[in-house]
């Protein structure tokens, strides 16, 4: 059986690796093509992002055009990118001039910290709330949790974030409103994201717990004479976690790209911010690089989710 699980894992990894390569190629070509089809003068856009509107001028743009070879044939530029991609070279940002890979390393790092912390916070909130709501389905704790979830779900992130800053930074003075580097700066943006995520995942935990609580094995665990707490911990959590894990995977993906609002509100560097700026600036290598990294994160997260599900659920491991 151990062998079959290993073989299974191997096949899964190979499949995901194939997917990663396809994603890489597709994302690169697609973003290149779309960006080049966009209306407007690309060189001017890049110059505007590089030098700011005060220093922006047509001559600056002409220099940019010549420097970057934007007047070369498109096919040549694309082939150039693909050729470098094979050598794991993503090129330099057209705006900052730094290697894309260096910028992404910084930004992706911060994004993953933020996303990971937000995810952890959301789990820390969603699991107990969902558990209580699920085990009291239809009664007031369930209703209260649902109301809270809808409220948090419906508030734009910038409103939630602003309320948190006012509460934790201005009134209580506990945490800084913006910045990055230590866990203190990380907490508020992560909490903003976590509240939105927990709104959804607490409901999934709840639904999953309702299903588990109605299952014959849950009833049997009680009948065995196990204390309620043991029943929940030993037979509820793990079974209840299986659907939640796949959701967490989806949420992590959403987090890595969907944090633009939070990044901008809390002045936090990240990949969402990088992508938006790259698109505004028509910074093709950065767009390709960010999209590529996000695609690969997607593939990697999916793989982790598969592995986690297999670890949680022996039936999936054997399939």
């Amino acid at each position: 059986m151990a062998i079959s699980i290993q073989r299974q894992t191997g096949r899964l990894l190979a499949g995901r690796a194939m997917q990663a390569v396809t994603v890489a190629g597709l994302v690169g070509v697609l973003s290149f093509a779309l960006v080049r089809m966009l209306p407007g003068d690309m060189a001017l856009r890049i110059a505007a992002s590089r030098y700011g509107p005060d220093l922006l001028s047509g001559t600056a743009a002409d220099d940019v055009r010549a420097e970057l070879g934007l007047d070369q044939p498109l096919a040549l530029q694309l082939a150039d990118w693909l050729g470098r991609l094979v050598r794991f070279d993503l090129g330099n940002s057209l705006v900052s001039g730094q290697p894309v890979i260096d910028e992404l390393a910084v930004q992706l790092g911060y994004s993953l910290w933020l996303a990971g912390f937000a995810l952890a916070l959301s789990v820390a909130m969603a699991v107990p709330i969902g558990l209580i709501a699920g085990l009291s389905a239809g009664r007031w704790p369930d209703r209260a949790a649902l109301t809270g979830a809808i409220l948090l779900r419906a508030l734009p992130a910038f409103v939630t974030g602003l309320c948190l800053i006012i509460l934790f930074s201005v009134w209580l003075g506990w945490l800084p409103p913006a910045g990055f580097g230590t866990w203190r700066e990380l907490t508020l943006p992560a909490l903003t994201l976590a509240l939105g995520l927990a709104a959804l995942s607490s409901r999934v935990v709840r639904d999953s717990m309702v299903a588990v609580a109605a299952s014959p094995y849950f009833a049997f665990a009680r009948v065995k004479g196990l204390p309620e707490r043991t029943v929940v911990m030993r037979h509820g959590l793990r079974n209840g976690a299986i659907p939640v894990v796949s959701l967490l995977g989806l949420q992590l993906i959403y987090l890595v790209e969907g944090v633009v609002v939070v990044e901008s509100l809390f002045a936090y560097p990240g990949i969402g911010h990088a992508l938006v700026h790259a698109i505004f600036a028509r910074d093709v290598p950065m767009i390709q690089g960010t999209a590529l990294v996000m695609g690969l994160v997607f593939v990697a997260v999916n793989m982790l989710v598969d592995l986690a599900c297999a670890a949680l659920d022996p039936r999936q491991a054997a399939r």
Partner: protein, 269 residues
């Protein structure tokens, strides 16, 4: 599967409340602009951020424009956009999902790869690039959101339809001579309905919030268009002077999400 779920669309009190809420919003959006005399673009720079009550029922925004009139126009646009986006994503997504599950084999695998690719493409990239083609316009936002959302329906439908198709009652129907159309319409869709309803209710909110996110990063609709997300974003700097004004469009989003949730019915388990 010893328990059989019954999919009766009972009109519970919860559903009635949801329908009433959505109905009220729809009414506000359709009749409001006609009934409310104030022009949503009419400015009064000498009376910005007037509190509710007084000359303007809900007060004025930062240009002294009637918030009531703007909310009514915004409701028409935002609610319409949400419904349109969700339908444009749900219908093809569901149909393709059923088709993939039915066809199986290469077609299924191909569609699966396409959906995986779209999921792997950052949704934000798609929307922003489309929006860059026609900045400030309605169409790219709508297209981008629908394009990013259909995959969800496709995946849910495909997974559910695949297990449904292997169930004895579907096999029996095939042996009894029923075709794919009947099976999809009468056997699969009713079973999918609760899941789809929940998904759609959620995505209504997601669509409105996505637009507010876009207007936050400066990719909104042309001024003076009123839309919930951009209203909240524009009023955000005045959070201290006029917190109520920021919360009003947010409250509209809340009511929409709440209404569709109630309408979609009980949480599925």
């Amino acid at each position: 599967m010893t328990k059989t779920k019954t999919m009766t669309f009972t009109f519970s009190r919860r559903r009635a409340a949801g329908a009433a809420l959505i109905g009220a919003l729809a009414l506000f959006g359709t009749l409001g602009p006609a009934v409310i005399a104030a022009d949503p673009a009419q400015q009064d720079l000498l009376a910005p951020l007037a509190p509710p009550g007084g000359d303007y029922l809900l007060g004025t925004d930062h240009y002294g424009r009637s918030l009531l009139a703007r909310l009514a126009h915004a409701t028409r646009l935002s609610l319409g956009l949400a419904v349109l986006t969700v339908l444009s994503a749900a219908i093809p997504g569901t149909l393709l999902g059923i088709a993939a599950a039915w066809a199986g084999g290469i077609a299924d695998r191909a569609l699966g790869i396409v959906s995986d690719m779209i999921l792997a493409l950052p949704g934000l990239l798609l929307v922003l690039l489309l929006a860059a083609f026609a900045p400030g316009q309605f169409l790219p936002l709508y297209l981008g959101l629908a394009l990013a959302q259909w995959v969800e329906y496709f995946r849910v439908t495909r997974a559910t339809a695949r297990t449904l198709l292997s169930r004895p009652h579907v096999e029996a129907s095939r042996l009894l001579g029923f075709g794919p159309g009947y099976i999809a319409r009468r056997l699969i869709l009713p079973e999918l309905a609760p899941v789809l309803a929940t998904l759609m209710a959620f995505n209504m909110g997601t669509a409105v919030l996505a637009i507010s996110t876009l207007s936050f990063i400066g990719v909104g609709l042309h001024p003076p268009t009123a839309e919930w997300g951009s209203m909240a974003t524009e009023l955000l700097p005045y959070y201290f002077e006029a917190p109520f004004h920021v919360l009003m469009p947010a409250a509209m989003i809340l009511l929409t999400v709440l209404g569709f949730h109630l309408l979609a019915g009980e949480d599925r388990s």
